[in-house]
Symmetry: C2
Subunit: 91 residues, 2 copies
């Protein structure tokens, strides 16, 4: 049987992960990263990677799954931001 | 002695929490929430609250501290967004 603890952790994981989905879709569609902070996404993505490593260390499934998905989403947004900052400089 | 696991968890906590600080400061200063998604911040804040409850359940200090601070930061941004959406409607 699923415990209350598991329900809370999966609810937490679903909410914090899903919240990045609309932003990722918007960035992929428009390729516009003007309004996004490179510092914030850089720090956040690195932090999520650390949470993923931590989840693997303590073998916590909710932390692993949530941060793996968030890493892909935040990493995608960050890649577009880095690409736009370095390559496609606006005149 | 502090373990590698603890170092990773506190590094993770510091990075993901700190990343919301520049956004919170900017929102408090400018009160401008036009570019922020109500859906994203609503979901994210609720998710962070769930992670905090989960951290208390499994008695994990890093998860508790990180999510308590993130809840204050994301909650502040969300409050401005809700206030601007409900009260100060643009003509």
């Amino acid at each position: 049987m699923i415990s209350t603890q598991e329900i809370i952790s999966y609810l937490a994981a679903t909410l914090t992960t899903t919240s990045f989905l609309p932003q990722a879709i918007l960035t992929i569609k428009t390729k516009d990263t003007e309004g996004l902070s490179l510092g914030m996404y850089g720090m956040f993505t690195l932090g999520v990677l650390c949470w993923l490593i931590y989840g693997i260390h303590i073998a916590d499934e909710a932390i692993i799954v949530a941060n793996a998905i968030t890493l892909i989403l935040a990493g995608t947004i960050l890649s577009y931001k880095i690409y736009n900052t370095l390559i496609r400089k606006k005149d």
